[in-house]
Amino acid sequence: MNTLNIYPYNKKGAKQHNKINTLESYLSHFWNRPALIISSARVSLYETLNFFGLNRSNHILVPDFICQSILNILNQNSFPVKIPDSRTTAVLVFHQWGYPQKMSLVLPEAIRRKLLIIEDCAHSLDSLYQGKPIGSFGVASIFSFAKILPTYLGGAITTNNQNLLDHLNQVRQAKNNFTDHLFNLVSWIIAKRSFNYGHGRYWLNSIYLESIHHPNIKKSALNLFPPNLAQLIDIQNRRRANYTRLRDQIKSQYLIPDHDKDINPNPICIPVFLEEAQQLIVQKKLRLKNIELEILHFDINRNIFQPDYRRCLAVPTHHNLPTTALEIIYKTINQS
C-alpha cells in the first residue's frame, strides 16, 4: 500500500488526449483571467521577474518559510528578503497551503510601498478571499498543478498583462528543440519516481534548478489533466469536501484560531496545532497506518508583512484520500 501524503498520487491518473489550447481555454474561464500553461510555477515566476526587468539589486519580499526551490529560482534574477526595505520592488504573496492571505491588509501595504504584487497560488487552484478567487489580486499569479492534480509536472500563470503573456508565449516557442524535449523526458521520469515512490529527491532538486531553461510542458503531463472544466471542478469539489469534513471533525481548538469569515479555502493541507510532543506522537501513530503528516510552520496571521509562524501538523485534504483515511486522521488527532 502506498503511503498517503499531501500529494494526490495514490491512484493512477486517467490518461486523456488533451491539447494545451483546450486546457488553457477552460483554465482561463475557471480563473476568469487569461492563463498560460508552463512547465512549472517556478518557470512562470522566473520569466515574470525577467519580464519586469528585476535583477539582483532588486529585493523581493518572500515569506519566512517557503519551498527552497522557489528561493533558488528567485536568486537568479532578484534578491529574496524577509524584511521589506527601500530596495524592495516586488512581493511574493504566498497563499500558504491554500489559505488566502489577508488581502485587505496586504494589498494596501504593498501599494503603499509601490511593490509589484505576484501571487503564489501553488497550493490551491480555487480558494476565495471575500468571494474573490486568489490569483485575481496581483499583476501576475502562479499556480502549480503537480501538487493539486496527479500530473507530476506543470504550472500556470494568469495575468491581465497582455505584454507579459506575449513574452511567455515567445519564450515557449523559442524553447522547443531536441534538448528541451530531452530535458522534459528526464524531468518526467524523475518526477514520477519521486512522487510515486519517494525516490531521488535530490535528482528532483537538480531538475528544479534547471527547469527555468525549459518552459514547455511534456505532453505526458498534459494528458493527465482533467479534460474539461466540469471534471476539474469535480476534483476541486472532492478536495473541498474532504477539507470541510476534516475541519468539522477535528476539535476546533486545534484549528486556526479566530477562524476568518473572509476566507473560503480549498487547501492542500490543514494546519493542526497540537503541543509539540503531541504532534510527534500523532505523526508516529499515523505513520504506522501509512499516512505521512509533516510538521511545518504556518503563518497564523496570514500577512506577509506581519507574519506569526507556529509549528503544526500539515494534514492532507486531496481528492484521492479515501474516507477511511480521513476518519483515521481526525480520530487520531482528537484522541491526542
Partner: protein
C-alpha cells in the same frame, strides 16, 4: 586560450597519481588551526552551516546570513538549505560570509567591529584567497571559519577545505565526512569536466544541475590530495606572475594599490568604462581570457561599491615570458 585556471586535468591526474597525498602542514596555516579537506567549497559551506545548525545558531530558515549580492547562484542555493541569504542585517542575522574577491582581502578592520557588535559568526569565503594576507594575518584564519576552493588554484575539477580553530567543529566535520556516501563523485567530476572542456548551454546546464548533489557528496575524491600535492610547488610561478604585473603595470595607481602579499585568483584591471572594451579586446587578442566583471573597490561587505573591471589571468601555467608579453601589450591601455 589561457583561462583563469589551468585546464590540463587529465595529464595532471596521470602525473599526480603516483604522488604522495598533501600534508595539511604544507598549507602553512597557523598550528592552532584545523583543516578539513572536502569535495568542494560548496560542500565546505554546507558542512559549516550544518555545524551552526547543530549548535542552534541557525535554528531554522528564518535565520539569515549576510552575503554579497553578486555571488554565484550555487552559493545562495547551498545556504538556502539551512538558512536564508540576505544583504540586510537584522535581528535574525546569525553569520556573515566575507568574500575575499579574487584573493584580495576585504577591509577586515571595518567589518570586524560591526560583526562583533551584532555577535555574528564570521565565515571567510577564501575560494579565491588560498594564500593571501590582511595585515600579516592569513585569510581564512581571521574569522570563525574559512572556506578554500582548490579547483581555482590547481588543475583540479573539485576540491575544497574548511579552516577553523574550533576543535569540536573540526571533529563534527570529520564525522560528517565519514558518513558521506561516495557515490556521486564520478558523476560530479564528469559534469564539471564536460562544462569546462566543451562549454555550451547544455553542458553548463548539466553542471548547474549537478550542484544540487554537492551536499550529498562532501567527501573529497581519491586523487584530490595527490593533485594538490603534486602541483603545490608551482604556486611560486603564480606569485612570480603577479610580481611581474606589479612591476610592469605598477605605474598605474590601481595596480600599485593592490596588496603585495596576495596570491590572486585573477588580477582585476581598472580603466575608464569607455576604454574597458578595448582593454578586454587587447587581452583576448594575446590569447588570454578576459571579460568585464564587477569588483568591490570598497572591499567592504557592509558598504560595497562594485565597479566593472577587466580580468587578467595570472595562474602558474603562464610562463614569466608570456606574462611580461601580455603586460607590455596592455601597458598603454591603463
Amino acid at each position: 586560450m589561457i583561462h583563469e585556471v589551468e585546464y590540463n586535468y587529465l595529464s595532471s591526474l596521470l602525473k599526480a597519481s603516483l604522488s604522495k597525498p598533501l600534508k595539511n602542514s604544507s598549507l602553512d596555516f597557523p598550528k592552532e588551526t584545523f583543516i578539513t579537506i572536502t569535495s568542494s567549497g560548496k560542500a565546505a559551506l554546507h558542512l559549516i552551516l550544518k555545524w551552526l545548525q547543530s549548535q542552534s545558531i541557525l535554528p531554522d530558515k528564518t535565520s539569515t546570513i549576510l552575503t554579497p549580492r553578486w555571488l554565484g547562484n550555487w552559493v545562495y542555493r547551498t545556504i538556502q538549505a539551512t538558512a536564508s541569504p540576505t544583504d540586510i542585517i537584522s535581528t535574525n542575522t546569525r553569520a556573515i560570509l566575507v568574500y575575499h574577491q579574487y584573493g584580495f582581502p576585504q577591509n577586515i578592520s571595518s567589518i570586524l567591529p560591526v560583526a562583533r557588535k551584532h555577535n555574528l559568526i564570521i565565515i571567510e569565503d577564501c575560494a579565491h584567497a588560498l594564500w593571501s594576507y590582511y595585515q600579516n594575518q592569513r585569510l581564512g584564519t581571521i574569522g570563525d571559519f574559512g572556506i578554500l576552493s582548490f579547483s581555482k588554484f590547481f588543475p583540479l575539477l573539485m576540491g575544497g577545505a574548511i579552516i577553523t580553530k574550533n576543535k569540536d567543529a573540526h571533529i563534527f566535520f570529520q564525522n560528517q565526512l565519514k558518513k558521506s556516501r561516495d557515490r556521486y563523485h564520478p558523476l560530479l567530476t564528469i559534469a564539471k569536466y564536460l562544462a569546462v572542456k566543451f562549454p555550451s548551454s547544455q553542458t553548463t546546464e548539466i553542471l548547474e544541475a549537478s550542484y544540487a548533489l554537492y551536499p550529498y557528496q562532501t567527501k573529497p575524491g581519491p586523487f584530490t590530495s595527490k593533485i594538490i600535492s603534486h602541483n603545490f610547488s608551482k604556486l611560486k610561478q603564480r606569485q612570480t606572475n603577479y610580481s611581474i604585473i606589479k612591476n610592469i603595470l605598477g605605474f598605474n595607481t590601481w595596480i600599485a594599490g593592490l596588496e603585495n602579499d596576495a596570491l590572486p585568483y585573477i588580477v582585476p584591471l581598472f580603466t575608464s568604462p569607455n576604454r574597458l572594451p578595448q582593454l578586454i579586446s587587447q587581452i583576448k587578442q594575446k590569447g588570454f581570457y578576459s571579460g568585464s566583471y564587477y569588483f568591490d573597490v570598497n572591499r567592504n561587505l557592509f558598504n560595497p561599491n562594485f565597479i566593472p573591471m577587466a580580468w587578467l589571468p595570472v595562474h602558474q601555467g603562464i610562463t614569466s615570458h608570456q606574462m611580461e608579453d601580455i603586460c607590455l601589450s596592455i601597458k598603454n591601455y591603463l
